[in-house]
Symmetry: C2
């Protein structure tokens, strides 16, 4: 009974961290990406953050890490077969998020958008 919230928390656990949704987004849409490609795709992330987030996703078997033994190093990241199964959930969250932003706009006006745009100008 009480479990119905702890399992929601399990789902959240793997999405939590400022960068995981973006990382997943890129891997889902681009397929396979090198570490440096991800870094370029997420201009403001530090290596430390990117590494730790990828390791957590790897632990959860969402992301696969393929190391090429060569120098300079080459490492490729991709969504695992198991990870692909969470696509629908991400889609559902995305859909809900989209309509919720709409709802907030109806409630409070479009000021939030303005704020978001301002935040981008840095």
């Amino acid at each position: 009974m009480e479990e119905s919230c702890s399992t929601v928390e399990t789902a959240l656990e793997i999405l939590v961290g400022k960068w995981k949704p973006v990382i997943l987004y890129h891997l889902f849409t681009s397929g396979t990406m090198r570490f440096s490609e991800l870094q370029r795709a997420l201009p403001n992330i530090t290596k430390k953050m990117l590494t730790s987030q990828l390791r957590e996703l790897e632990y959860h078997d969402i992301v696969h890490r393929k190391i090429y033994m060569q120098i300079p190093p080459k490492v490729e990241y991709s969504i695992t077969e198991y990870g692909l199964k969470m696509g629908p959930l991400l889609q559902a969250m995305n859909d809900w998020g989209t309509s919720h932003m709409q709802h907030l706009n109806e409630l409070y006006g479009d000021d939030r958008k303005v704020q978001a745009l301002e935040a981008i100008q840095d």
Copy 2:
């Protein structure tokens, strides 16, 4: 395009905070609850936390706050009509979370369960 992750983040935003999933769980299953009932249901939460989490949910129009002007004060919390619409999403997250815990157990054994049980003994 890049929005597909920021809207996932929007969905996360309202779930983030150690207590929001449990609060929602109780309000979804119990219907209407007073502040003090919620406090009893969540034995380890502080008033400050409970208040702030409820205010955030109220801001997002997920939770309704009904004040009775009487002394001692009485305030009832419930899920809004709009909030009910996120039931399916919560259910989807719950389902995914459940099967993911199963998956983790298959990968790493049931040690996590043991740890969780140990954590309860305090």
